[in-house]
């Protein structure tokens, strides 16, 4: 066990954005505030997966989201990824 033992996270809002890293999270936070968009819970894949950040963390995070008790309250999940290559979206879909 590591030091994160008690640092559990939960779905707190009914809209959720999963992004690649902390910079993306900060950007999205500002964007939502600036544009007065509906309230989203934003989390980067490293925190959500507990394993890996970036695109690599998406699948481990998504794989077990539905185990959470509050998953049933979610209206939607948006995934925000950098379009690093022309195939980024296709690779994401495949995963």
């Amino acid at each position: 066990m590591d030091e994160r033992v008690d640092l559990t996270w939960r779905f707190e809002k009914d809209r959720f954005i999963l992004c690649e890293g902390i910079d993306d999270k900060n950007f999205l936070d500002c964007l939502i505030k600036q544009r007065q968009l509906p309230d989203f819970q934003i989390m980067d894949s490293n925190q959500a997966s507990g394993k890996a950040g970036g695109k690599t963390g998406f699948w481990p995070a998504l794989k077990a989201f539905d185990v959470q008790a509050a998953f049933k309250n979610l209206k939607g999940i948006a995934i925000v990824t950098d379009n690093d290559t022309v195939n980024t979206c296709l690779e994401m879909e495949r995963e």
Binding site: T8, K51, Q68, A69
Partner: protein
């Protein structure tokens, strides 16, 4: 606490389970159960009731109704001046969904040894008697019927109001064994002494003792001695001159040993534990889970354990990494007024733990 039964023959694993009209459950169905099944959920969502439902169905023995009543800190009635139908019905009403004794409890359990077993529990016969005589000199029975491989076994459970002891009428068909441990820190001394004694007679106590020594190496020896006049477990502790009662060493160690002894004794059976983390220091929990899994595997025992503790769940990770498919998560919830259970298995359950997600 312990139902008298012989050591079961062959490995018994509850594969699926369904029950209707029991306590808070109108109907629940569990499939593909595993060796270690963790039960989580809010207070009053049905965690303990699920263990009780499994116990009642897996034992198929009316004594289970008496035992789970006692574990809920409810005594059996002493003689009353006037037994009314209301008084009688209130005795067992909490077993039935919505406290409605007009309903019948029905359960179906499929295990790897016996195939399908059905049980029904009802107060129907008792209700007829109540109509005939509103004041009763004795409490009418709770009727248990069990159906297995085309055979029906019927047993009636009454209470002798003079002695407040349960009275059984009918055949009790021995089924594979099942043990239930409540969440409270109270210990049933004779029960633990019986567990140890049964194992010791067959020279089978060592796996449990060796298992507890992994985390508590100060326990040099465990044996049954008289504490005043009661046979209890004593321990020889490193650096102590005298042997002392185990609870004087630690109530947490005592409870952990109780679980280990139950797994060893109920070989090929089912062990149900309420709030398994009670009394165990958090740093010990990862190895405790490894030990429990290994002993369950060695003894072919299926474990159902409730927990409120996130530390306890996080501590599963090292044991789960060895064999994720040995584990199942059962979460009891109330949705739209109905008590329901969600199930998650193996790799998905492990991933959720690694995410540090709130899964309770």
């Amino acid at each position: 606490m312990v139902l008298a039964a012989d050591f079961a023959k062959g490995y018994r694993m509850i594969k699926s389970f369904e029950i209707r009209n029991f306590r808070c459950f109108e109907q629940i169905q569990l499939k593909d159960l595993r060796t270690i099944n963790l039960i989580v959920g809010d207070n009053a969502s049905g965690k303990t009731a699920l263990n009780e439902a499994l116990y009642l169905s897996a034992t198929g023995n009316p004594n289970a109704a008496v035992l789970i009543r006692q574990q809920r800190q409810r005594t059996l009635p002493q003689i009353a001046m006037n037994w009314s139908s209301e008084l009688f019905q209130s005795l067992w009403a909490d077993l039935f969904y919505n406290f409605d004794p007009n309903l019948n409890i029905w359960a179906e359990l499929v295990d790897s040894l016996h195939g399908t077993i059905n049980i029904t529990v009802s107060l129907s016969e008792a209700k007829d008697k109540i109509k005939a005589s509103p004041e009763l000199s004795a409490i009418p029975p709770l009727l248990f019927k069990r159906f297995r491989k085309g055979k029906t076994t019927t047993t009636k459970l009454s209470i002798d109001t003079k002695t407040a002891q349960p009275v059984f009428d009918g055949r009790i068909d021995p089924l594979p064994i099942c043990y239930i441990l409540p969440s409270t820190q109270q210990f049933y001394w004779l029960d633990m002494a019986n567990l140890y004694s049964d194992l010791s007679k067959n020279k089978l106590e060592l796996p449990a003792i060796n298992a507890i020594r992994q985390d508590f190496p100060q326990l040099a020896e465990v044996l049954i001695l008289l504490d005043s006049t009661t046979p209890v477990l004593f321990a020889e502790v490193t650096n102590l001159k005298n042997r002392i009662p185990l609870t004087v060493v630690s109530s947490g160690i005592t409870r952990y040993l109780n679980i280990l002894l139950a797994i060893s004794r109920y070989k090929n059976g089912v062990v149900l534990v309420d709030e398994i983390e009670n009394g165990i220091y958090w740093k010990k929990l990862p190895n405790v889970w490894k030990v429990l899994r290994a002993l369950c595997r060695e003894c072919d025992v299926q474990l159902f354990a409730t927990t409120h503790s996130n530390e306890c769940l996080q501590a599963l990770i090292p044991a789960m990494e060895e064999a994720p498919n040995d584990f199942c998560l059962l979460r009891t919830e109330v949705q739209h007024g109905k008590h329901v259970i969600s199930q998650f298995y193996g790799d998905k359950f492990l991933t959720a733990l690694e995410q540090h997600a709130e899964i309770r």
